[in-house]
Amino acid sequence: MMIASTRATAALLGCLALAGLASPASLTGQAPDQAPVFLALPETFPDVDARAVLLRERGREIVVLDPDDAEQVESLRVALLVLRRIRGVRPAPEGRGQMIPITGYVLREELSTELREELESALSDLRRHPVANVGNLGPGRWMPFRQP
């Protein structure tokens, strides 16, 4: 189909611009070039001495939480802080995976009530998701995550 008039061309460009604004990245509140983030809660945590494990691979970032962690909210908070920190330090790998086991942490302050509620809500949502296979970690739950 040929674009024969200036008015038609303007309409095309305007629609393309609107389509760009409605991309999945902007709807999730993430930067356009930022990998999507997923939360995963396997029924059996992998054999790694860690409070949480970050994975960056295949164009996405995954936070793996320990189902037996009594402080999952705090661990999630720290995992997200570390994820934000390492994005600025090392670029996402091309063709390779990065695994970051977080062995321990100390929060400098208690979480604010608002932040705690947001994170607890996300974890509750995660626990409501149906059980599926979390890759080779076996059964568990997972979901995409929109950071508060």
Partner: protein
């Protein structure tokens, strides 16, 4: 305002934009589907020693009578376990890393040290980095000379206050016919040591917040103090096979909140 042709062009553009929009590699499971979708993930399988610093070395045997102590070395500890002498663990901070260093003298053709640096913040442990060193002298080349073995576990840090490092070590010596995990050994002796006192960084300075309350923090902390001090490893792997390519050992730092 727009011609029919312009409207058709606009609709075609929308279809093209929708088709070319970014797709996630993993779709979102929807609550109402009967079969939840699996997460495609190849978590790497770490071998037991992947995150341990260390090496096994074959060192040359030194001829000579047993019991010779080089000039400047401390006299043997009369209470030491047979074949292990003067075991010691020390800890400290050095530029951008914390360490646990261990050493001992030994007789026997195999000497080994397992040491561990333990990092804490505000009295709470946040990470451990184990390390080992094993020195092997071929049995027939070992004439009973006293040898020295050293080992060090180090933790990279990006935090200049509030951290403490402890160190614990296992010192061993013995005899083996040949080098290898299944080689029969005899005459082994071992002893444990711990660094005392542990080493502490200066305490983090507290600064009053806008409401007058004091919050902890340091140069790298967030202004609102809601960050954390944490330790983590960094493992690079093949996401399809799980093969581990590279390991960056334990790193401890403050991460900003906000």
């Amino acid at each position: 305002m727009f011609s029919a042709r312009g409207i058709r062009v606009a609709l075609a553009a929308l279809l093209v934009a929708a088709a070319c929009s970014e797709e996630h590699t993993t779709s979102v499971p929807i609550a109402h589907t009967e079969v939840p979708e699996d997460l495609v993930l190849g978590f790497p399988k770490l071998a037991a020693r992947t995150l341990i610093q260390g090496e096994v070395r074959q060192v040359g045997g030194s001829p000579g009578p047993a019991g010779i102590i080089s000039d400047g070395e401390p006299p043997p500890d009369e209470d030491a376990v047979a074949q292990v002498f003067a075991p010691l663990t020390t800890v400290g901070f050095q530029n951008n890393y914390a360490y646990s260093g261990a050493r001992h003298q030994y007789t026997g053709n195999v000497g080994r040290i397992d040491t561990e640096a333990i990092v804490s913040y505000n009295g709470q442990e946040i990470g451990r980095q184990p390390a080992f060193r094993e020195d092997y002298t071929p049995f027939l080349a070992d004439f009973g000379a006293r040898k020295t073995i050293l080992a060090e576990a180090y933790v990279f840090i990006d935090q200049d206050c509030g951290l403490r490092v402890d160190g614990r070590s296992e010192h061993r010596a013995g005899w083996q016919w040949f080098l290898g995990g299944q080689a029969p050994d005899w005459g082994s002796a071992g002893i444990s040591t711990q660094a005392f006192p542990p080493e502490n960084q200066p305490p983090c300075e507290t600064e009053p917040s806008d409401d007058g309350n004091y919050t902890g923090g340091n140069e790298d902390g967030g202004a609102d103090g809601s960050g954390a001090v944490t330790c983590y490893y960094w493992v690079t792997y093949d996401p399809y096979t799980g093969e581990v390519y590279d390991v960056d050992f334990l790193f401890c730092e403050g991460v900003e909140g906000g």
